[in-house]
């Protein structure tokens, strides 16, 4: 038995050494004929990322390439995402489409990919680097401005508003927040009462933060001392919505959000949310993969590709264009797999 162990160990060691020896010869590996593209989201459970996945699958089927969909094991954990990128570089995918969790922390690993001749397309959030082939994303600043103008119009240009931020370091939501603040500044009678609270990564943390934010703002008559609320992404919008509903304030305050989900659509229909700025995640996933494939097939691609945004309101929500954005048909694509 012991001898078997030893023999086994030695044989494994030999295999290991021999393959290490072969490694030098393998470095100029012939490029694979069928492209394999890794798509790395920030997380895998949000509806938003499911839609990006759907778009990527759609592009993969159209262009006859293979995609590997692999998010960080811990949602919103930078280290976890770096590990995933490293592992996919090692498995030598043809290209990486990445939604970076951080504009700086992911930079070294992207450089590493480029050094290993694996091109990178950035989607959704920016990266402070010029190594990427292209940046495919919603113009978040513009989206935030749209939200600000929409809220200001609903309030007739006067009143007090609060904003619950998402999380520091996430470039996309910070741009939305900045866009919102800048656009609201154009209305002299609108006052931003609070804009320094953070909802955090999950709906649960956003719910707690919302309760803490709303608590001191309640008046004795059970209303709110503010007129408008803005939240910059799905988890904060939903957390805030739950907090409003639980304290019976939903619908009594003008509420504008960003992103959509089934529950948010219901809230728009019930008049509890008065506007949602929508990105097009399916298009984002689709264009991300498509841009990468074009690049790999030797075509020129744009450095910056905008995927657009629109405001959904209770009035226009049955419009087919808006409806597609509100309820992305991701299941159609993901089920076909």
């Amino acid at each position: 038995m012991r001898k078997l162990f030893v023999i086994f160990a030695y044989s494994l060691l030999l295999i290991c050494l021999s393959s290490c020896g072969q490694q030098q010869g393998e470095s100029d590996e012939d490029t694979p004929k069928r492209l394999t593209i890794a798509v790395i989201p920030k997380g895998t459970t949000h509806v938003f990322w499911k839609s990006v996945h759907a778009g990527a699958v759609k592009a993969a089927q159209e262009l006859n390439v293979e995609i590997i969909w692999k998010g960080p094991l811990k949602e919103d954990d930078r280290e976890s995402q770096i590990k995933v990128v490293e592992d996919l570089i090692t498995s030598r995918v043809s290209g990486i489409v990445l939604a970076p969790l951080d504009d700086t922390a992911l930079r070294p690993v992207v450089n590493d990919a480029v050094q290993n001749n694996i091109p990178v397309v950035i989607i959704d959030s920016g990266l402070k680097s010029d190594k990427q082939i292209s940046f495919v994303a919603t113009d978040n600043y513009e989206g935030g401005r749209k939200a600000g103008h929409h809220l200001a119009q609903l309030l007739d240009g006067k009143g007090k508003v609060v904003m619950l931020r998402y999380q520091e370091g996430s470039a996309s939501t910070m741009n939305r927040e900045q866009g919102f603040l800048d656009s609201v500044k154009e209305y002299p009678d609108i006052e931003v009462v609070s804009s320094n609270q953070y909802g955090g990564a999950t709906t649960e943390s956003a719910y707690t933060a919302s309760e803490n934010l709303l608590g001191p703002l309640r008046t004795s008559e059970g209303r709110l001392s503010v007129d408008g609320i803005f939240c910059p992404n799905e988890s904060t919008v939903f957390g805030m919505l739950r907090a409003l509903q639980d304290s019976g304030l939903a619908g009594k305050v003008t509420y504008v959000g960003f992103d959509s989900s089934e529950m948010l659509v219901k809230a728009v229909r019930n008049g509890e949310i008065h506007g949602l700025v929508l990105q097009d995640p399916i298009i984002m996933g689709y264009l991300g993969v498509k841009t990468m494939v074009h690049h790999l097939r030797g075509e020129q691609v744009e450095k910056r590709i905008d995927t657009g945004s629109k405001v959904a309101t209770p009035e226009n929500m049955d419009d087919p264009v808006i409806k597609d954005l509100l309820e992305p048909d991701y299941q159609k694509w993901l089920k076909e797999k």
Binding site: F5, R34, K74, D77, R78, D102, D112, A201
Partner: protein
């Protein structure tokens, strides 16, 4: 310390006893487990590639058939690929030096923290604040680097010292308040996480580019003589030092004594309070070094990093033969435990498995590994 006890039969055959000690204590079996898991992924990756390529070929052939291309031309189509060749390539990638280096780099953070955690667990304690200390470490380094007059080395040393102080405070609280380590370090976990967030104004801190970022960076062509990045070397040196400390110094034996039976140790004259404070301080220092490594990978100070890292670290120690009841554990075992966790994660990533599958596999392996370890322990006595 029941691995040290020898049954009478073994004493008659000393050679066998020595060999068994080698098996149980040197982590030989664990090494085998690591290799088995590693080569499982080597074969799985190859096989997966073979199946995938075959499928792609099949699809291509049926498409060509629809286009009425004669069979001979179909089979010579340049887009067809040899599945076994592709499979071999995929397998080779997992045993390539690049992958080994990646695994080593990814293990360093958990491995470094596991050095301290091994000491704590041998002494029958636990430290839940490790993840928060790592985050604090990254924040302190970035914060100091942004101040004038702090060289990278000084910033790193001060950050590790700050982390050591956190461990020291835990140790003082545990021994003086007589509260169980679980509760004290649970409190410290939140306390330190909060401190890290406060220090960084609840945002990540960008830091200037220094040589600290190179500690765990992938080696360039001109640095190949180092074999593995300097951060991994630091881990190895530290591991050897702690292993020697545990085995050959009085402090090391006292740690085992406290873990085996604290009352007896006290009666035998072990300065339990002092040793415990030293243990938790060391755990803080190693968590700080893990924070330094984490900073090197992130290049920013991030107060939200390493949430739940302590659980990975504890899992590594326990897989490596550490007992939460105290008195057992080894440095080599803990490092192998950390390596096993990385290999699973890395293998699953490279196979493109969804995260939920990866989590289920990791959970199952932890339970199986520890269960096997307990079975092994029951046999000799």
């Amino acid at each position: 310390m029941n691995t040290d006890q020898l049954s009478p039969r073994d004493l008659t055959n000393q050679k066998a006893a020595i060999f068994r000690n080698l098996l149980t204590q040197s982590g030989f079996k664990l090494l085998m487990a690591l290799l088995c898991i590693y080569f499982f992924f080597v074969f799985a990756l190859g096989l997966q590639q073979v199946v995938k390529t075959k499928q792609a070929n099949q699809e291509l052939l049926s498409k060509l058939e629809e286009e009425d291309i004669p069979e001979r031309e179909r089979l010579q189509d340049s887009r067809l690929e040899d599945p076994w060749h592709k499979g071999l390539q995929a397998s080779q990638r997992f045993v390539s030096s690049r992958n080994l280096e990646t695994i080593a780099r990814q293990t360093t953070i958990v491995g470094m923290a596991a050095l301290g955690m091994t000491l704590v667990i041998i002494s029958a304690g636990i430290d839940l604040s490790v993840g928060s200390i790592v985050a604090l470490g990254t924040v302190v380094i970035a914060w100091l680097l942004n101040k004038n007059g702090f060289s990278p080395l000084l910033a790193a040393i001060l950050a590790v010292a700050a982390c050591g102080t956190c461990g020291f405070i835990s140790g003082i609280l545990i021994t003086n308040l007589r509260v169980v380590p679980f509760i004290v370090t649970l409190g410290m976990m939140l306390f330190i996480r909060g401190a890290a967030k406060g220090l960084s104004n609840e945002q990540k801190i960008d830091a200037p580019d220094t040589w600290l970022n190179e500690l765990l960076a992938s080696l360039g062509q001109d640095q190949k003589w180092m074999l593995i990045p300097s951060g991994v070397w630091i881990l190895i040196i530290m591991a050897v030092m702690v292993a020697v400390l545990l085995r050959y110094t009085r402090l090391g034996r006292h740690i085992f004594a406290i873990g085996s039976n604290e009352q007896t140790a006290r009666l035998c004259g072990v300065a339990v309070v002092r040793v415990k404070v030293i243990i938790y301080s060391l755990c803080g220092v190693f968590a700080g070094l893990a924070g330094l490594m984490q900073f090197s990978r992130l290049t920013v100070g991030d107060p939200t990093v390493a949430i739940g890292l302590e659980l990975d670290v504890i899992a590594a120690v326990v897989i490596g033969g550490g007992s939460l009841a105290g008195g057992e554990g080894s440095i080599l075992g803990s490092l192998i435990g950390a390596l096993i966790l990385t290999v699973i994660a890395s293998g699953c990533s490279q196979m493109g498995l969804p995260n939920w599958v990866q989590e289920i596999i990791t959970g199952a392996i932890i339970i199986v590994a520890v269960a096997l370890d307990r079975l092994r322990h029951r046999r000799p006595t």
